[in-house]
């Protein structure tokens, strides 16, 4: 990347160091300040998180609170509730396995060999289905666990995956409708997309969770969880639709003309010529959108779901661990960080690789 400037083999290390960090008085000052910030932060962090920290539950909360550093015992004591929420204790291996399914699915969809419409749909369809069966049970000798008992990381991942699974095809549809030659279709769709984009996600989640049941007949209202997922998917699709449309605009008009001249029908042109090229153009932005959407999944805590943030609040909020909120939030932040950071790094890598390919 652009950060590392490999120095040519210099005569002395000292001179090299001097050239890189102390070339001018201003540079020297900047280097010293940066160094001071770095050293003090890293030292304080390490001291807090490792050297003075308590890792075992043996001393109980009291001993932990007395320690100068982090109290990781709270994680040791409460990690199950953070990750799996109120899922029945003996069945939590199912929850863990379901999370693993999602991770495997995500990794698989990062492999170029799976980048055809059919294969990616297969991977996600199969992944979501096996997640659902694992979590809900009722078949294959698994006991039944209703959605109201799902929670923690498992619920967060479920909401994310279903949001993408519904939102992505919806986004493609919206993008196609918006670029339609028929003025009323494209204008109406534009209105929907821009309208959704101008609203905050929270207000949409709130509307779907709490207001929508008023506007639906009883038999259609369904479970609150699925309504919220629908709202989240709608929000995702409005943003993703613009990304897909951007990708479509990157495909030269001649491509569709050539397909038309060969006698291909509308759906053949879209499916075989336009979308494969548009999706490739839109790939980096799409991954970015997935990253954003994963982070935004955390907002469902506001409409009252027991996802990882809420379960984290519960983990320290009751009884003897009240003081250990920093540790709990650090743990949750770390989980998010691992997912989001690796995905966004992968996106940046793809972007660079594609930029090279174009040259």
């Amino acid at each position: 990347m652009e950060m590392v400037i490999v120095a040519p083999p210099a005569p002395g290390r000292l001179e090299d160091l001097k050239r890189r960090f102390f070339a001018t008085p201003l540079q020297a000052l900047l280097s010293l300040i940066s160094l001071a910030i770095m050293v003090s932060t890293v030292w304080k962090l390490l001291n807090w998180a490792v050297f003075s920290a308590v890792f075992t539950t043996s001393g109980g909360p009291e001993a932990c609170q007395a320690a100068a550093g982090a109290c990781w015992s709270v994680i040791a004591a409460r990690w199950r509730i953070i990750l799996f929420g109120l899922y029945p204790f003996e069945e939590q291996w199912r929850s863990a396995l379901a999370c693993l399914t999602v991770v495997v699915m995500t990794v698989l969809s990062c492999i170029p060999a799976f980048w055809t419409g059919r294969r990616i749909a297969l991977v996600w369809g199969a992944g979501a289905a096996s997640y659902y069966v694992l979590m809900k049970g009722g078949v294959l000798g698994l006991s039944y666990v209703g959605e109201e008992a799902w929670g923690g990381l498992a619920l967060t991942l479920f909401i994310f995956v279903t949001t993408c699974l519904i939102g992505f095809p919806l986004a493609v549809c919206l993008a196609l409708l918006r670029r339609s030659e028929l003025p009323w279709i494209s204008r109406t769709t534009g209105l929907i997309i821009d309208g959704v984009r101008s609203l905050p996600l929270i207000s949409i989640l709130f509307t779907f969770a709490i207001v929508l049941p008023f506007a639906l007949p009883q038999w259609l209202a369904g479970d609150k969880l699925y309504r919220v997922i629908l709202g989240s998917a709608l929000f995702f699709s409005a943003y993703q639709a613009e990304i897909v449309r951007g990708g479509m605009q990157g495909v030269p008009a001649g491509q569709e003309e050539a397909a038309m001249a060969l006698g291909m029908s509308y759906w053949q042109r879209i499916g075989r010529i336009l979308l494969p090229q548009a999706m490739r153009n839109a790939l980096p932005a799409t991954i970015n959108q997935f990253v954003i959407s994963f982070k935004e999944t955390s907002l469902v805590v506001i409409v009252g779901f027991f996802e990882i943030l809420a379960s984290g609040n519960a983990a320290y909020g009751t009884g003897e661990w009240r003081f250990a909120y920093v540790e709990v939030y650090a743990f949750i932040a770390f989980i998010y960080f691992v997912f989001v950071f690796s995905l966004s790094r992968y996106g940046a890598f793809l972007e660079r690789r594609m930029a090279v390919g174009e040259r």
């Binding site: 960090f21 540079q27 940066s34 009323w184 905050p200 709130f206 939030y329 998010y336």
Partner: protein, 387 residues
């Protein structure tokens, strides 16, 4: 019939009618069902409720508010709270973002590393988690009794206490507008006198304008202060609680800090992108003219980078404004929380959702309008430069 369906024009018309018609029918059916359901609960539709008093209170308001005030007043308070939090967060985030962004573009590798670490960490943790974290941190601070004071500031679990000027509401508003004028005046003067005045005189005029406006503000504050009171009111412990000064509630601080840090990490990337987009040739040309590094930066690099940043920055600001809705997570009465509370208490669901959409549309559109004007004003003239 079949041959009619094969006709392109007939088919196109039919498709449009079916699409728009079914969407309209869906929305209409929703509204009808909702009105019937609400009517069953004894809620009559209409905007009359706006004039009824709410019966509940808000925890943060820049305007006077009591439980007797009508709903429309509370909506106004909500919008102002959202704008206030949004603007505070926006300014802080821009500050953080500029510093980190400059560190990332600096020639110093240590500063680069520092900036990059910052961005990587705070960009990748959801905003709401950061809001929760700061809120927990602030509410776990010592109680007012145990808090220690520094420079007239008090950090307590009930919020941050700062010294406040002892002035009346009218004088405060006047002074605030004078300060805004002090910022706006040099910009305006710079633009109107650009052609007629040489560079040195222009700077003098601008400085004089700003100084005059600031002096005005000071005079207003001194004259308008409350009788028999010092100009600055310091917070002090009285009994179990703190009196005097201005309390910044933990909800507001947590949100502002989180938005500043999270938004700052995004703005840092925008700033970096802006600087990266400035061509090497331009800087080489500036250097070859014999300009000092500082002049190269202020006269060439910064103005060009700003032009590249601004459109993306505008999007980011709109996003930040929408992020204030996370207030509901910690109980800050922003516009959205007022909406949610109103739905809970009054049951006027459809009307309030309409107000919510209208409010955000208005906020987004006015922000977009402001940025379009700025964009247009600073855009490079002519189209012969590209390519």
């Amino acid at each position: 019939m079949v041959s009619l369906l094969r006709n392109q024009k007939v088919r196109n018309t039919l498709l449009q009618v079916v699409y728009v018609g079914s969407l309209a029918a869906l929305v209409l059916a929703g509204i009808i069902i909702a009105r019937r359901n609400l009517a069953e609960q004894g809620i009559t539709s209409g905007f009359d409720f706006l004039y009824k008093s709410t019966g509940w209170d808000v925890n943060f308001s820049l305007l006077p508010a009591t439980a007797n005030d009508p709903y429309w007043w509370f909506f106004l308070i909500g919008i102002i709270n959202t704008l206030f939090l949004g603007c505070t967060g926006l300014i802080l985030a821009t500050l953080v973002g500029t510093i980190v962004g400059l560190a990332r573009t600096s020639a110093n590798e240590l500063a680069q590393l520092l900036g990059r670490t910052y961005v990587d960490i705070f960009r990748n943790i959801p905003l709401i988690l950061q809001v929760f974290f700061w809120y927990a941190l602030i509410t776990h601070l010592p109680t007012p009794r145990a808090a220690h004071e520094a420079w007239g500031l008090l950090l307590t679990s009930r919020g941050l206490y700062v010294p406040a000027p002892n002035v009346g509401g009218v004088a405060m508003a006047l002074a605030t507008s004078a300060v805004i004028a002090a910022i706006a005046l040099p910009v305006w003067l710079g633009r109107t006198s650009r052609l007629s005045q040489p560079f040195g005189q222009r700077a003098t005029i601008q400085l004089a304008g700003a100084a005059a406006a600031l002096a005005c503000a000071a005079i207003i504050l001194v004259v308008g202060r409350l009788p028999d009171a010092p100009l600055l009111d310091f917070p002090a412990l009285q009994g179990l609680n703190l009196r005097g000064g201005l309390r910044v509630p933990p909800e507001f601080s947590a949100l502002a800090i989180a938005i500043a840090i999270y938004g700052g990490s995004y703005i840092a990337e925008i700033v970096r992108g802006g600087f990266k987009s400035v061509g090497k040739g331009q800087m080489e040309a500036a250097r070859s003219l014999g300009l000092s590094p500082w002049r190269v930066f202020t006269l060439v690099r910064l103005p060009l980078a700003l032009r590249a940043m601004l459109p993306i920055l505008a999007n980011q600001y709109v996003w930040l404004m929408k992020a204030t809705t996370m207030g509901i997570a910690v109980g800050f009465t922003d516009f959205f929380m007022i909406v949610a509370l109103t739905i809970n208490h009054s049951g006027q669901t459809l009307e309030v959702i309409g107000i919510l959409m209208g409010g955000f549309l208005a906020i987004n559109l006015s922000l977009a309008a402001v940025f379009n004007r700025i964009n247009k004003a600073i855009a490079l003239k002519g189209n012969q430069l590209r390519g």
